[in-house]
Each structure stands twice: as structure tokens, then as C-alpha cells.
Amino acid sequence: MNVNLSAHISGKFNEELENLRNALLSMGGQVELQLSKTLIALRTDDQRLAETIVHDDNKVNELEMRIDEECMRIIAKRHPIASDLRLVLTIVKINADMERIGDEVERIAKMITMYSLPASEKIKSGMVETGHLILEILQKSLNAFARMDVTAARQIHGEDKKVDANYKELLLQVMQEMQQRAELDSRWLDVLWALRAMERIGDRCQNICEYIIYFVEGVNVRHARDNN
């Protein structure tokens, strides 16, 4: 389904929806950039870089607020219905998830700013690998949103399984190493938090895919697993 934003009789409404969508995409781009920088910082132990990432989370938060306000304004003034309403709601929801992804990225970056990881090379490379996996999923989710590509959304939705599998494996590895170096307990906690953050980013990308499916098909696929 192509998003036919430009067909309204009101040219200004077309413009507003187009701008809203672009704002969300550029916010997504910002989050994507933060995540890829975080992976570099993680790989190279670059605390300076990590600090700028923590600082830049403000940009994401600001965009989130602006998009929220714009959605509210459009709902109040334009009374969107049918696909227009679903689009605005989809954007409200993706916006919230995107902001939380930004927070998770910030959490990982914060850990890097404090000290080098206590973990082994195995965990570190595992984290980098998982990070690249979620970066790819995030990029694909954003592309699927830009094109409202429901087939891609369904496929990406399934890719989160790999992230979950990596997460479980890394958890086990951390538990083993923790026992050997228990004196670093608070730092291990940070590592666990960072791992958890990665896993959560995968989940939030899944949410985004669900919203895309909702927009296109009007079917709510959330919690479908719970019902089955």
C-alpha cells in the first residue's frame, strides 16, 4: 500500500501530514545514528564518543515532543478519520517507541562512559554483534514505515527472534563470568542492563512493525501471541 498523503483536496493538510511523516523519519534517523555511534564506542572503548551520545539524546527527546504536539494539533484541527486517523495514531505510537529506543541507546552509552567493560572479549563481541543486528532491524523498520510496506513489516517482526536468542546466550555467559569476578558486582549489573536495553530495542522495533500492519490493514496484531 502506498501512503497517498498528497491526494487530499486541502493542500495544506497534505503538507501537514507529509511534514509529520518526515519529522518521524528524521527522528528515526537520529536514533539510528546514535545507535551506530554507540556500537563504535562499544567496540573501541571510546568514552568521549559515548559522552556525546548521552548528550545527544536531548535531540531525540525534543523531536518527540514536537511530533507529539503536531499530532495533537492535527487531531484537534483536522479531525482526521479512516486512514488519516490511523496514520496519525501510528505516528503517535511509533514516536513514543522511538523515544524509548533513544533512551535504551543512552543507557548503553552511559555504561561505556563510566568504565571499560569488565566482561570478556566474547561478551563484548557478542554485544557488538547483537547491536548490529538491532541496528539493522531498526533501519529496516524505518524503511518499512517510510514505504508502509506490510510484507517487510511482517518479516522484520520475525527477526527479533535472533535478538532474543543472542540475548539469552549472552546472559548465560555473563552469569558464568560474574561468578569468577564477583567483586565487580555493580559493574556486572550495568552490563546486564545494557544487554537488556538491546533486547528491548528489538521488542520496540517489533511494536513499530505491528503499528505499520495496523495502519495498512486496520488489524491489530498486537498481543496476537497472547491470544493464541
Binding site: 497517498n4 491526494a7 487530499h8 483536496i9 486541502s10 493538510f13 479531525h79 482526521p80 478519520i81 479512516a82 486512514s83 488519516d84 486517523l85 490511523r86 486496520g218
Partner: protein
């Protein structure tokens, strides 16, 4: 009997009006083409569509108002109470008592408020003052106008505001205890507050009768109705539950119309 358009989640038991293959031509120009639908009793149905799509013509078929136009040729059937109103030997005045109608411009008669309400009753030959008084009070109450006019019942109805006049006209229709009440753009000449009062009234009235509202105001259709009929160029495009039509319409044409896109 019904196409899928007529069964899209809309209740099919307790039907007030059943329309089968209804077509209407003015000369050789079709104003309505093969319309089939069933309108549930004690519910509110909105009819939407662009100007000239046949909205008013459609509801004009339910009380045979189109008979007034000698060029109009109707084919098909409209059942009200299991009786085809286009069948032989129908009592048209009785039909129009049963199917009340309110128009866009409030049209009270230039007589007192009281006489406006009892107008139809007097034509029916009711003269008992007590009966008339009771009906005036109950009709004006139902039309949410009683409190505003109870002290000026014998003043000219033309002194009322537009919103009050429209409610008076509704009271006049209600005095005849219609089974079906049709409102053709009832609020397009009214301010937003009067509009909300009429909408609230419509909502309350559905306990008593089946209501059909023709409106250009899509938000109004969305607010007040349970099911919505979308007509375009004389064709029934979609007949769905309102909740569905305004969130996930089935047809591209419906989507284009309600979201304000080029058709």
C-alpha cells in the same frame, strides 16, 4: 436478497425499512440505482455522500415525497412494516404520518407555538382540548423545548430562535407519533450549540422511533449514527456500522470521500 454492502455488520433483525432494488429516474436520468438495504428499527442511520448523490431522493422514497415530482419514476420495493409502500392502494397521508420529516431550514407555520404542534392532530380531526394539551406538552418535552416555550405557547412561532424553531418542527413531527423520523440536514442552518442540542435530541428519540439523518457534516454522522449509508452518483457504495466506516472503510470511494481526497 442483500448484497454484501447491506450486511456489513449492520443488524438484520427488527428491520424498520427494507429496500429492495430501488431505482429512481427523473426522465431518463437515474437518481438512484438498484439500492438494497435494511434499516434496523430504533437506531440512527446517517446518509452521507456528495451533493447530488441521491441522499435526499433516497429518504424521499420512504414517505413517497418524490411522488410530488411528476418526472420521478420509481421501481423496486420499499417495505415499512412488511408492507410495500409502492404497492397498490397505499394510503399516502397515513404513510406520511407514520414517517415524519424535518428539513434543513426550520419551517414553522406563522401561527402560535401551540398551534404548530397540534397542526397535524387537528387535520386528523382531534379536537379534545385535554388530549391536545397533553400531546403539546409531551411532544415539546421530547423535543427538549418545553422549558423554553411553556410560557409563550400562544406567541408566534416565528419569534423563536433558529435552533428553537428546528426543535419545534421536530416536536410537530413527534406529535403524530411517527415510527420513523427523517431529518434532512437538520442542523446545517444552526449554530454549534443548537446543533449539539439537536444531536442529543436525536440520540434520545431513537428509543421512540427509527431515525434517519441526511447530513453533509461527516463528524455529525460519526457522532450520532450507528450505521452509515454512503451514496455516490445514485449508487449505494457502502453501508456499514459507523464505527467501522470512520476507522476502516471497506471501499476506496468511501475512504476518498470521508478523508477529503479527490474521488
Amino acid at each position: 436478497m442483500f448484497t454484501d454492502k447491506g450486511l456489513n455488520g449492520v443488524a438484520t433483525d427488527n428491520i424498520a425499512i427494507k429496500v429492495e432494488d430501488l431505482s429512481l429516474r427523473f426522465g431518463d436520468k437515474f437518481a438512484l440505482r438498484d439500492i438494497s438495504l435494511a434499516i434496523p428499527a430504533n437506531s440512527i442511520t446517517a446518509v452521507i455522500g456528495p451533493s447530488g448523490c441521491g441522499k435526499s431522493t433516497l429518504i424521499g422514497c420512504f414517505n413517497r415525497l418524490n411522488d410530488l415530482n411528476p418526472e420521478a419514476k420509481v421501481s423496486g420495493k420499499v417495505y415499512i412494516n412488511d408492507r410495500n409502500i409502492y404497492g397498490l392502494r397505499q394510503n399516502i397521508p397515513a404513510l406520511r404520518t407514520q414517517v415524519g420529516m424535518v428539513f434543513q431550514q426550520p419551517n414553522p407555520f406563522p401561527i402560535s407555538v401551540y398551534e404548530n404542534v397540534v397542526y397535524g392532530l387537528r387535520i386528523k380531526g382531534i379536537t379534545d382540548r385535554r388530549i391536545l394539551d397533553d400531546i403539546v406538552e409531551s411532544s415539546l418535552m421530547q423535543a427538549a423545548l418545553w422549558d423554553e416555550v411553556k410560557d409563550i405557547l400562544f406567541q408566534s412561532a416565528l419569534k423563536l430562535s433558529g435552533g428553537q424553531q428546528q426543535r419545534l418542527v421536530i416536536a410537530r413531527a413527534l406529535a403524530l407519533q411517527p415510527e420513523i423520523l427523517m431529518l434532512d440536514e437538520p442542523t446545517s442552518a444552526l449554530d454549534p450549540i443548537s446543533t449539539l442540542m439537536i444531536e442529543e435530541l436525536i440520540y434520545k428519540l431513537k428509543e421512540k422511533c427509527t431515525i434517519i439523518v441526511v447530513t453533509h457534516n461527516l463528524q455529525q454522522a460519526a457522532r450520532v449514527s450507528e450505521q452509515t449509508v454512503f451514496l455516490n452518483k445514485g449508487d449505494l457504495i457502502e453501508y456499514s456500522l459507523t464505527d467501522r466506516m470512520f476507522t476502516m472503510p471497506l471501499h476506496k470511494q468511501t475512504e476518498a470521500f470521508i478523508t477529503g481526497r479527490f474521488g
